[in-house]
Symmetry: C2
């Protein structure tokens, strides 16, 4: 990672997902890395920060999450729309070279085994909180966020700065069939009202 890769205070980590972006989920187990896209990821708690993510039983990434007990939720940018769609529609089961074919670059942070996708705007390192009933019945995984980082060109001082960054940094919000919306302009109300 580069000099813009900055740690985020865990008490502010929920803000990385609060606006509902489509995310990338990455994991690694027994030497196998994979990355998938997920529109169904959400903050669950502030402190300690927790997240939920839905991982389909057909997803190879889910096996890596279950095998390792760890996953990374990261926020892809508008510049990564094609990559986001491709990792979400291609399976490592069919394409052993999926990540290389798509051009996904992975990075590691010392002390953490799960891989981070380069070029994203934010990353949450999550430890699986084992909830077999949720995982089996709903494909719903709960993770505790043990570390978080963001690119300070678009997230700094605990806030997104989309309106001050290049539009290529905007988060993606998936609809269907290759259609996303980028996050838009600020709407500010009187917090005392």
């Amino acid at each position: 990672m580069n000099s813009h890769f900055q740690a985020v205070d865990l008490q502010k980590a929920y803000r990385l997902l609060n606006h509902g972006p489509t995310v990338l989920v990455s994991a690694s187990h027994e030497g196998v890395d994979n990355v998938m896209a997920a529109a169904w990821a959400c903050a669950l708690d502030f402190d300690p920060p927790k997240v939920t993510v839905v991982l389909d039983k057909t997803a190879r990434t889910r096996q890596l999450v279950e095998g390792s007990g760890w996953f990374v939720i990261q926020v892809p940018t508008a510049a990564q729309a094609q990559l986001t769609h491709q990792v979400g529609t291609r399976s490592l089961f069919d394409q052993p070279d999926k990540l290389a074919n798509i051009g996904v670059q992975l990075a590691r942070v010392e002390g953490h085994a799960a891989p981070l996708v380069e070029g994203c705007s934010a990353w949450l390192m999550c430890r699986v909180i084992d909830e077999p009933h949720n995982q089996t019945t709903y494909d719903l995984f709960i993770g505790e966020v043990v570390a978080a980082w963001a690119d300070d060109r678009v997230f700094r001082d605990g806030h997104w700065a989309y309106e001050h960054a290049d539009p290529q940094w905007r988060s993606l919000h998936y609809v269907a069939g290759g259609h996303f919306y980028a996050i838009g302009e600020p709407v500010v109300v009187d917090p005392q009202s």
Copy 2:
């Protein structure tokens, strides 16, 4: 509701939340109606459609959801930013006239007891799937969507049409402290790539 209030095919209901908007949660029990805001709501399944939503133990609306077994998730618009912040920061415990003071207008759909907030862009009528462990441990509620509606000025043919509607219809994506982002412009990739 008006002539723009149209039923949404349940197989497409997930699309109403897929882009991660901040929502309003409404419920009614024993003659008490309430509405709260929630940034932590997410689609959980396609068919039958299910959703998750985090309802804090301090929220009066949570008691109404637990008492009645029903809630409505609705997508507020940029025009409702102040209302969304106010229903999310004021409690019915302190303000018995909360909804009237804020100017929240409720409507009912025949056959459903839970109230809908007028002026929103979409509504999902949800029956609580009782999961006591999730509710107690994580404040996490799961609902099955039994009916869905949208305003055809901004959602039609199973797709959001934000780019073709007045900007006041855009969904809200909460950050913190009265700061939201509105949903932005479309980003379309080749679905075959």
